[in-house]
């Protein structure tokens, strides 16, 4: 199984708790906006991305899982 990260920009406030979990996927820039460095999630990254999604206090992230 693989996955894809979906970001809801209307909810994101750029706190960067996701970046603290996985800096390979998430980066908050100096302008405070979050960039998804990579949307695609490999099978062995699913757990860490799930953790990043859970860490988001504004619930701006969703992990879509693909079979």
């Amino acid at each position: 199984m693989t996955g894809k990260i979906v970001l809801d920009r209307s909810r994101c406030v750029g706190l960067g708790l996701c970046e603290a979990v996985s800096p390979e996927h998430f980066e908050v820039g100096d302008d405070g906006n979050l960039t998804l460095l990579r949307e695609d999630v490999s099978a062995d990254e699913l757990d860490i991305i799930e953790e990043a999604v859970e860490a988001c206090p504004t619930r701006a992230l969703v992990l879509e899982r693909h079979r």
Partner: protein, 418 residues
Amino acid sequence: MTTNTISPQDRVFSDVDISSNAFWAKPFDERESSFAELRHRGGVSWHPAVEVSFPHAEPGFWAITRAEHINQISLDHEAFITDPGVNVEPIPYALSKSLTFFLQMDKPEHTLLRSLVSAAFTPKQILKIQDQIFANAAEIVDGVIGAGEIDFVGRVAGVLPMRTVSDMVGVSPTEREAVAIAAERLIGRSDSATGNPADVLQGMIDARDFLHSVGSSLAAHRRSNPGDDLMTNLVEARIDGVGLTDDQIGSFMVLFAVAGNDTTKQTTSRTVYSLDRNRDQRQWLLEDFDGRIGVAIEEFVRHGSPVIGFARTATRDYELEGQTIRRGDKVVLFYCSGNRDEQRFADASRFILSRKPNRHFGFGGGGVHFCLGNGVAKTQLKALFGELLRKAPDIEVGEPEALVSRSINGVKRLPVRI
């Protein structure tokens, strides 16, 4: 439905007291037994306004005490707003506004003003100040090793956040202690209450005015000497072509000083005590400090539960657990209670450093008001406990003297031998 005609004044107050001075003078664990009873009864209860010695017009408030409800309300920014007030107590509106900057604002204003500050709190920016925080932590701990019996709060726990806050915003070393003291006066506002209403409010106003004057002079300095820092961002910001007023910058200064000083300070004091009284947990952390400190810090913050709670106001009628919260009603989200909710945390009163998941309320209940400084706080806790556990393994910790406060679960003094 007859409930449609019930005005707030006519509602029946809960028989569980969480409003009186007597209640707030109790230790945290005794207060928790009342919150546990409220959670058990559904977690949504109507109470008289928290007792204060000055006049007010607040008819009462809803206490929200269950974890799931605190998250639900925190995330619903349409139904619950902050502008009418965020304090547990009925603090006068104008005074409260002058203390809270973007905390007591809603979108779109909140989004705009918070973004001016949040650029200083991104993970990348925190990495830039990390070395300074670690150096400060080392200096503070080195300065007390071998000092014998000291007050941990005054000599250690309060010092690191005071330096971090001052460094971030440019407060000079000669003034930083006065800034921390003013912040403490604001949160301990009822601790030294004489019963004279004028004194309580005047004490808050004096502390507010001092912090506003500090903010204004830092702003004036940065207007004429711009740098690459937070205060320069604030003075150079233009919203629809208009810059921030001195009052807004003053209110930023109060928020920054209060939120930055007393939260981390209290968590540090509570944690040094908990680590001493739970040797098995301390041992577990020491076995792999670098690998375990991240998860442990979440438990430091949950268990220490530094912020008691914040208020919201309903913008419409809202049904919750069979109760009708009316439009205009004040609700208080008791983070201290959410952090002890057994529905979310097994053995909630215990200090268990490996706890995971740990969806606590130490930084709020989620949503756009989530603690901006959480990353700075975690960096400081990591730095300080790394130093302490390594350099002072034999520290002896006495009994804390609690601060009486409706906003912070504070420790006034904590004797240690180091």
